[in-house]
């Protein structure tokens, strides 16, 4: 039984700021006590580097660190723990894929298929991959609501040049869930690989990479109730085997010789040079256990319930324009008519409401929805309908004069 009050009590940020309405979980989520305790426990009781098997503490922490690959693999339905690479976050995961694609999977004349709705972290690495390989970037046509259309997508393959598809699972601005399984099926029929940015999806949806058959999935711990500084790259094992590390150093090599020859560790350790974010891995494990204790189906259902409720309430207001009516993953994007997004957000901030404004790192999106800046309210399991009601009451009474007064 989903009990939001019980959940709220698990989050110190909520206990410490009982009146704060935090609606920026798309940027980073709050962390439950069990995650924080795990990180602190590492520093207070288990502070040792990993893979120094000569003493007990290192051995114990190494085992949890290594076992967490299985926890993550099971959480996203990966076929084996060796498909799970620890990175510094979704950005470093996506760069690892794109840099390797530029070197190994793409050639001059190939096409990287993506969208203008994308987050900078899933476009800029592909610009560089195109530069490195001589491939070109192609954008899938979207309608003015930035809704993905499978037919338009399939048409992009007509010249048989698409070799990589780079798309999000959930759009970070619009909150739409992409039909990833169909996207992958079409791409594979045309011999293209699929890299999915799961940063906004994995925290909210039940994700099964085996069922989806995606080639790569990137996500960050800090948006899914875990610590910052740790992310995951899932890749199909044979693809990871073909790829090179981005960084070289300690921990990722087995041997090296004077002549420059390096014998790397096996996949996935070969990608993980340097001391990793150990406490992040341990905390991520707790975050996954916490989410699973609630159940990802329940998490997803509650996200849909909150999104639907919020959008329905906003649409009853005359002074609001909502841009993503079909959003299902706790992301609501809107503007107050005649008020610049940042002016409104600054006023909300004075009333203890945290939202994000701007283009949300998707700096090409305005070509699609023809709006430069929006307010994004993004929610997670600890948000409530009461908070939405309070926020909607504030929005109803917001005027440009009140916004300006908040800086006077």
């Amino acid at each position: 039984m989903f009990d939001v009050n019980k959940i709220r009590n698990d989050f110190p940020m909520i206990r410490n700021h009982p009146d704060l309405i935090y609606l920026d979980s798309g940027a980073t989520s709050f962390k439950p006590q069990c995650v924080i305790d795990e990180v602190v426990k590492y520093y207070e009781w288990e502070n040792a580097n990993i893979h120094r098997g000569d003493y007990d503490i290192s051995f114990r922490v190494s085992k949890i660190y290594d076992d967490t690959r299985k926890t993550v693999a099971d959480f996203i339905g990966a076929e084996r723990p060796e498909c799970i690479v620890y990175t510094y976050g979704a950005t470093s995961s996506l760069n690892t894929v794109a840099i390797n694609a530029g070197k190994k999977f793409l050639q001059k004349g190939d096409v990287i298929l993506t969208s203008q709705v994308e987050h900078a972290s899933d476009i800029l690495p592909w610009f560089k991959a195109a530069e490195a390989s001589g491939a070109e970037i192609r954008y899938i046509p979207f309608d003015e609501h930035a809704v993905f259309n499978l037919d338009e997508y399939e048409k992009c393959f007509s010249d048989n040049r698409v070799k990589i598809v780079a798309l999000p699972y959930v759009s970070n601005v619009m909150g739409y869930i992409y039909p990833v399984k169909e996207i992958v099926k079409i791409a594979h029929e045309h011999g293209a690989l699929v890299s999915i940015d799961g940063a906004q999806a994995v925290p909210h949806l039940k994700v099964d990479v085996s069922d989806l058959d995606v080639d790569f999935l990137s996500f960050s711990s800090h948006k899914m109730l875990g610590p910052a500084g740790i992310g995951i790259l899932y890749g199909k094992f044979d693809l990871l085997e073909q790829m090179d590390p981005i960084f070289y150093g300690g921990g990722s090599n087995a041997r090296f010789y004077e002549n420059g020859e390096i014998i790397l560790q096996k996949t996935p350790e070969k990608f993980e040079a340097g001391t990793p974010c150990i406490e992040g891995v341990l905390g991520l494990r707790k975050a996954i256990e916490y989410l699973e204790s609630i159940g990802m189906d329940e998490v997803m259902e509650y996200g849909i319930e909150l999104s639907d409720y919020f959008i329905e309430k906003l649409e009853q207001l005359d002074n609001v324009e909502v841009y993503n009516r079909g959003s299902k993953a706790g992301i609501v994007t809107f503007n107050l008519k005649g008020i610049f997004a940042q002016d409104a957000a600054s006023y909300f901030n004075r009333l203890g409401i945290s939202v994000r404004t701007g283009n949300h790192c998707a700096k090409l999106l305005h070509h699609v929805i023809h709006v430069n800046e929006t307010i994004r309210a993004s929610m997670h399991i600890y948000n409530t309908k009461e908070e939405i009601d309070r926020f909607v009451d504030v929005i109803r009474d917001t005027t440009i004069e009140k916004c300006v007064d908040s800086v006077l």
Binding site: F340, A341, Q342, D343, S346, N349, T357, G358, N359, N372, E373, I400, E401, C403, V404, D405, S406, V407, L408
Partner: protein
């Protein structure tokens, strides 16, 4: 000190009806583009100057009330001024938003921003256009 009503009026007037907001496609103007990563403000300032003074300043782009109004007011303040005078005005403005002592008389309508220093997250809005104006003055001086 200005009262709150007057400040609000000045800000909204320069936001809704800026005197200097227009795109300039005249080669005798130089331009500087200033955009922020963390917010949407994205401003281009155009300046025409003689050897030692500013003849005209215009701007265009996308900005919030504070960004638009502060840039518009500063364009008014520095037009017709020598580079030295303009830089002194800008310095007084920076002093104001840094909560340091400043010369109210030098800032005229820009006094509407005299409490901006209290809101760290908006100081950038109130300086993005001003930085561009300053940069243009420095370019002309070289």
């Amino acid at each position: 000190m200005m009262d709150k009503e007057l400040k609000r009026e000045i800000m909204l007037d320069h936001y809704n009806h800026p005197n200097n907001k227009q795109t300039v496609e005249d080669d005798s103007y130089r331009s500087v583009h200033n955009a922020s990563e963390s917010c949407i403000d994205d401003i281009t300032v155009y300046m025409k100057a003689s050897e030692d003074h500013i003849e005209d300043v215009k701007f265009d782009g996308v900005g919030c009330t504070i960004c638009t109004a502060s840039t518009d007011i500063m364009c008014d303040l520095v037009t017709g001024k020598s580079f030295e005078e303009a830089k002194a005005i800008i310095q007084e403005y920076y002093n104001m938003v840094d909560d340091k002592p400043f010369d109210e008389d030098a800032l005229e309508e820009a006094n509407a921003f005299d409490t901006l220093y209290q809101q760290a997250n908006r100081i950038k809005c109130g300086t993005i256009g001003i930085h561009a104006i300053e940069e243009l003055i420095n370019e002309f001086e070289q």
